[in-house]
């Protein structure tokens, strides 16, 4: 059967050639591919800055670069990774590509707005990169006032404007998804027949639409303060620098859920597909996404326990912070239960899913330390926090992204990647990641503050371990670039459904047609039913 597989004659990639057919496209799939390329470039840039940071921290003295250069490194690393890689990563690439076929739609509700969001992302990126090229910015990605408003003399305005502009791209993507999921579902596609990936994106989109405007207005206030000398957060004029933190975290805490929720959605798809089994407790998994999105908005001040907020407020926010733990735990338990009596196979995406489980567990559980008041006083702004959020953002979000990218790569390109190298890469990423970030928990509990250019000698061993791990991690991320590009031409033809997955996007050809389906599909079954898929399965490892 394998030798009969061919790339279909007509598909979205050969429907129009030349730059113009890409830049003016309204096809969600082509926009997703352009997003994929853009965020990969940003990931590479952010990774280079991370490399600079780890090189500097290999020795306790500040001897690799000057202090101000180092400060610019971690700031640009944070800004690029958070606003230009993680936030658009899964939604704008995988969500953009997969949501319409998953719900049986021809396209997103607003294809032109989708293209507009890409252009806005580019413009925002240009602003921020221009700031970087002309000297960078050294405030940390958090832009705390009054340092950012008056003390720093680096390029804060263009960087902040870049983030402001990119925020609109995020808003438009979220808006588009919500309307699409509400209004574009195929006949028979009820809410409880939606793949969990779609549910996760619905929750993500809510956060994007509701949270992003608040960071936008915060940046506007920072902008008028810095550019025109208005006094809004300036303590010397009676302003409150802590108000900036409140407003900043009102968005930036939920922003973490913009990154992790889609990854949780990817996980649900992977766990079900590779254990050939219906997801355990579908509605609990679906609603836990919404719960995380909503709870995410009422916990922000746990970033500010030592920032001078009142004792009472700290207790309220600590209490609420634990509420996020419950839906997260429910998800993990349901994935575990899904494996029970499954038919589990370990293709590369499943390896990423397993890696995700381990890292997300550690990332999520260490969050409990930070939500606990008495504990957070010691751990706040130390490397413990750095390790924790990297376990969530890299161990969680990027593992999910990589898993999803491998999972849908045959759908996007019509070809399979190298099985051998992709497994190597998944293992390298997992091992390298743990080696990089686990020592940071320890060094954090020892008290090493974050954003330090130099540090006491006794902390060197742990930092060297971390730097060594980072090089393994870097290798793990570089490998896919090679074998995925190689697969575009030389990869084995995948066929419509190489993994025997059950969701709707696998029932069209790979790569799909521009309009996704030849006929409007009518959905008659529940999600994740594998009884009927087996016959169509064509590729087994």
């Amino acid at each position: 059967m394998l030798d009969k597989l061919k790339i279909p004659e007509r598909h979205y990639l050969n429907n129009g050639h030349g730059l113009k057919s890409w830049l003016l496209t309204k096809d969600h799939k082509r926009i997703a591919i352009m997003y994929l390329i853009s965020i990969s470039v940003m990931f590479l840039l952010g990774g280079l800055f991370a490399m600079g940071i780890r090189l500097e921290l290999a020795t306790p003295q500040g001897d690799f670069v000057q202090a101000d250069t180092y400060n610019k490194f971690f700031t640009m690393h944070g800004v690029i990774m958070v606003f230009f890689f993680l936030i658009p990563s899964i939604p704008a690439v995988l969500g953009n590509f997969m949501i319409p076929p998953m719900i049986g739609a021809k396209d997103l509700a607003f294809p032109r707005i989708n293209l507009l969001s890409l252009y806005i992302y580019w413009i925002g990126g240009i602003f921020t990169l221009a700031a970087m090229v002309t000297g960078g910015v050294d405030t940390g990605w958090t832009f705390y006032t009054p340092y950012s408003a008056s003390a720093s003399n680096t390029h804060i305005i263009p960087t902040a404007l870049g983030i402001f502009i990119a925020g609109f791209s995020s808003i438009l993507t979220g808006l588009n998804f919500i309307v699409t999921i509400h209004r574009m579902r195929a006949p028979g596609m009820g809410w409880f027949r939606l793949p969990l990936f779609v549910w996760a994106h619905y929750a993500t989109s809510l956060v994007q639409v509701l949270g992003t405007p608040v960071i936008a207005i915060t940046i506007v206030m920072l902008f008028v303060e810095r550019a025109f000398g208005f006094g809004i957060f300036d303590p010397s004029r009676g302003g409150d620098p802590v108000l900036f933190q409140h407003l900043f975290w009102f968005y930036s805490h939920p922003a973490v859920y913009i990154m992790i929720l889609p990854a949780l959605g990817v996980m649900s798809e992977l766990v079900s597909t590779f254990s050939k089994k219906m997801i355990f407790g579908y509605s609990f998994v679906a609603f836990s996404s919404l719960a995380i999105a909503v709870f995410g908005f009422i916990v922000w001040a746990h970033h500010m326990f030592v920032a001078g907020i009142s004792t009472y407020a700290a207790m309220v926010f600590s209490f609420l912070s634990f509420s996020v733990a419950i839906p997260s735990a429910v998800k993990v338990f349901n994935w575990t239960a899904t494996l029970y009596k499954g038919a589990i196979s370990f293709e590369t995406p499943m390896l990423y899913a397993y890696g995700f489980m381990g890292l997300f567990l550690i990332g999520g559980l260490t969050g409990l330390f930070l939500a606990t008041l008495g504990m957070d006083i010691h751990l706040h702004d130390t490397y413990f926090v750095v390790a924790h959020f990297h376990y969530i953002m890299v161990g969680g979000a990027i593992m999910g992204y990589m898993g999803g990218l491998h999972y849908w790569w045959p759908k996007m390109t019509g070809r399979m990647y190298s099985d051998f190298f992709s497994r190597i890469s998944a293992i390298l990423v997992f091992v390298g990641f743990n080696l990089t970030f686990f020592p940071q928990f320890v060094v954090g509990y020892l008290g090493m503050p974050r954003r330090y250019h130099s540090y006491p000698d006794e902390m060197q061993v742990l930092n060297v371990m971390s730097s060594a791990g980072a090089s393994v991690l870097g290798l793990g991320y570089l490998l896919p670039v090679i074998y995925l590009i190689y697969s575009l031409k030389k990869g084995e033809v995948a066929g419509p459904n190489p993994y025997g997955a059950s969701t709707l996007e696998w029932q069209t050809q790979s790569p799909p047609l521009t309009e996704n389906f030849t006929e409007v599909p009518v959905v008659t079954g529940e999600p994740y039913e594998y009884e009927h898929v087996v016959a169509k399965e064509s590729h087994l490892v």
Partner: protein, 121 residues
Amino acid sequence: MSDHASHGSGHISPISLYITIFLALMVGTALTVGAAFVDLGSLNFPVAMLIAVTKAVLVVWYFMHVKWQSHLTKLTLATGLFFLAILLGMMLIDYTSKDFIAMPRPTDAAGQMAAPEPASH
């Protein structure tokens, strides 16, 4: 196709309704200004906000046709207001319970550490 116009956002209201709402909004404006010149003690602000909210509801309900819109539109609007309430309300948790001490700005930036009296709570 014209049957679509009879439901949902396609509702056509009589001009007289729009004029009535307009007049109500103008009266509301006059009321706000009038109320501001009367000393209502601590009630001045709530009254002003009550009038503003009433005016906003009139605009949303009639000018923006929400009255005739689908449940989804109403739900969307409610979601927005709910999260606005979270933003305003949760922020107040900190600000209403703050026990920090107001500090006079030291004028000599040269590093004179004038030790102020310990604050009394």
